[in-house]
């Protein structure tokens, strides 16, 4: 009997993968500004060797990569070889620096110079940090930084992936992603969901894994197993094959096994994602984020410019619903003309509808542009307000939208107060849409972007599910539709629970629609309600997951 260890985390998607582990090296620390203990000659020799090795490393990578990547890597190698840099390093070593610190400081001064020049060169300034980190890693005897490469496919194990890492990730050679930090809304999770990569995030125990370990990654159960039995591997692969067969067979609108319709909508932020969503069979749009059109703008675009953009998006969804969220500025996406500077706690600040009420003309212009674009399109356009906390705010928004010619106006439920008072709030909205990411963040008072509290960012938690249940009940009592537009709707098992709690539509990244559709087709509304009752009465997120999984097997 082989003993196997099971590492637990949060699975993204339903896939399984088997393969060897490759670890992402930990980030190279900034060297301390300490006086050197070696002679200047010795430090100089170390620095020269490290820079030469870095340059050789980069050129070798360039040759292997070819194409544009080779050009970029060659340019980085030239920076490592640079005589002006070398002169600065020599100077700093003569003044008493260690080789590590001299390289760090010299690169930093060139980086600041490039950043100050702006434009293309400013954007390349970060490349110098990359070169410096490589040289410093060499000096400290650490592994080469960045995403590891291998000719044979592997399972990447990392603390968490930064956006820059994901850009250089060669997806063809990655079988699955496993992270020790980060929750279901981390960059890694979002990337995995978008690209359909099997992933388990927040698997603390994966810190023990070393390069070359054979592991079985099971996203459906959120587990990683070292040295799995062949029998278990076969079982997992069979299950994945069965799932993809169900997925391939399920097309058309979202519905339960008993025929109860649950429209599956897409979350989009641009015309490109609108086209992708339409191509993937979305039955409309449940969340059109409009911030992206405004980001970086000094002032709001004109009514006509906005209307043109909206019309292009609406054209992708003739005769279908498109729910547009008016500007949700603030917190992690500030806008110069809406967001107050210097708020100590922007997630709790004047963001969303609060900021729009304070700058009502921006809101009026946006609603006018939306009404104009809607009138010229076949899409069923609806609007909703973000960060609504009270029934009065809902009333204000609906009245203004109706006045400006948008007949269907709803509100997002993402602030706990709105969910707690759902029976009073819902009558003031034409529909509501639950934003599970922010709702979870506010229920737990845990920043959704902060890795150290990511374990609290779990929409399976009964504390979150009970609020969703209250909103679902208020929606049913008032005949008001209740949508879900957070990452929660993209989790196929959780999607069933949400329908059981009263969700009438689900909106998600369009890549998840096929999985959710397949899963919903396996249960009746009665099943969903029964499973939802189990999840809501569980004491923890993990217990809720297991209660639902056990009841279904």
């Amino acid at each position: 009997m082989v003993t196997t260890e099971l590492i637990r985390g949060v699975g993204i998607g339903r896939g399984t993968a088997v393969g060897p582990v490759l670890r992402m090296p930990d980030p190279v620390p900034d060297p301390a500004d300490a006086r050197r203990e070696r002679s200047a000659e010795d430090e100089q020799a170390r620095a020269t060797e490290a820079l030469a090795a870095t340059s050789a490393q980069l050129r070798a990578r360039g040759e292997a990569a070819g194409g544009t990547a080779a050009e970029v890597l060659d340019a980085l190698a030239m920076m490592a070889d640079d005589p002006a840099l070398a002169a600065d390093v020599t100077h700093r070593i003569a003044d008493g620096s260690t080789a590590e610190y001299a390289i760090h400081a010299a690169m930093a001064s060139f980086r600041d110079m490039l950043a100050g020049m702006g434009g293309y060169l400013g954007e390349r300034a970060g490349d110098l940090d990359d070169v410096a980190r490589r040289a410093i890693a060499y000096l400290m005897g650490l592994s080469e930084p960045g995403v590891p490469r291998s000719d044979t496919p592997f399972i990447l194990v990392a603390r968490d992936l930064a956006p820059a890492d994901t850009a250089t990730l060669d997806l063809d050679s990655v079988l699955a992603l496993v992270t020790t930090d980060g929750g279901p809304t981390s960059h890694t999770a979002i990337l995995a969901r978008e690209k359909g990569i099997t992933a388990v995030v927040g698997a603390t125990g994966a810190a023990e894994l070393v390069d070359g370990d054979q592991v079985l990654v099971d996203a459906e159960n959120g587990t990683v197993e070292r040295d799995p039995d062949q029998e278990r591997v076969d079982l997992a692969l069979q299950r994945t094959a069965a799932l993809s067969a169900i997925r391939a067979a399920s097309t058309g609108p979202g519905r339960l096994a008993d025929g109860h319709a649950v429209p599956l909508l897409a979350n989009i932020g641009s015309i490109d994602s609108a086209r992708e969503a339409a191509a993937r069979g979305a039955e409309g749009v449940g969340l059109f984020r409009t911030e992206v059109l405004f980001l970086g703008a000094e002032k709001a675009p004109s009514v006509d410019d906005q209307a043109d953009t909206y019309r292009a998006v609406f054209a992708e969804f003739p005769d279908q619903k498109v729910v547009v969220r008016v500007l949700d500025a603030g917190a992690d996406k500030p806008l110069a003309f809406l967001t107050d500077q210097g708020e100590e706690n922007p997630a709790l600040g004047r963001r969303g509808l609060r900021a729009l009420q304070a700058h009502e003309q921006v809101l009026r212009d946006q609603l006018t542009a939306l009404a104009k674009a809607a009138a010229a399109s076949d899409a069923h356009v609806q609007v909703m307000a973000p960060m609504v906390s009270t029934p009065e705010e809902a009333e204000y928004f609906r009245a203004l939208a109706h006045e400006l010619g948008v007949p269907t106006a709803g509100v997002m439920v993402e602030v706990p107060s709105a969910a707690i008072l759902a029976d009073h709030l819902v009558p003031h909205a034409d529909f509501v849409s639950i934003g599970t990411n922010d709702l979870t963040q506010y229920v737990f008072a845990a920043d959704r972007l902060l890795g150290t509290v990511a374990h609290l960012q779990d929409p399976w938690h009964p504390a979150v599910l009970r609020l969703i249940e209250a909103v679902g009940r208020a929606g049913a009592a008032n005949g008001v539709p209740v949508g879900i537009c957070g990452e929660a709707a993209a989790d196929p098992s959780l999607a069933i629970v949400l329908v059981g709690l009263g969700a009438t539509t689900l909106s998600m990244s369009s890549t998840s629609i096929a999985d959710v559709r397949a899963e919903l087709s396996q249960v009746t509304l009665d099943d969903a309600r029964r499973l939802a009752a189990l999840a809501v009465s569980a004491p923890s997120a993990e217990a809720a997951r297991h209660a639902v999984a056990d009841a279904r097997t």
Partner: protein, 87 residues
């Protein structure tokens, strides 16, 4: 020593890719080359030095070459700078 002053032809100036190609031409020549714009002179074998001059299209620069084969190298570099590499 051989030197010449000319206007840079590349549409986007001596940024990024053209700068890298220019520096490569310099290092391949094995000669000592100095590039001057206005008051500032840099070692032309340094990509960081060259881009730090912020040379735009039409800027006047002076190339000075020191070495056994100075004239031939100067000709090659002047030809390089008179060509639009962004075309």
């Amino acid at each position: 020593m051989a030197e010449r002053t000319l206007a840079v032809a590349s549409a986007n100036g001596l940024h990024a890719r053209p700068a890298a190609l220019f520096v490569k031409t310099v290092t391949d020549s094995g000669q000592q080359v100095q590039l001057t714009k206005g008051e500032r002179s840099v070692n032309a074998a340094s990509i960081l030095g060259v881009v730090s001059l912020g040379i735009e299209h039409g800027d006047e620069v002076t190339v000075a070459v020191d070495g056994d084969n100075a004239d031939a190298t100067l000709d090659a570099l002047v030809t390089f700078l008179s060509t639009d590499h962004d075309a």
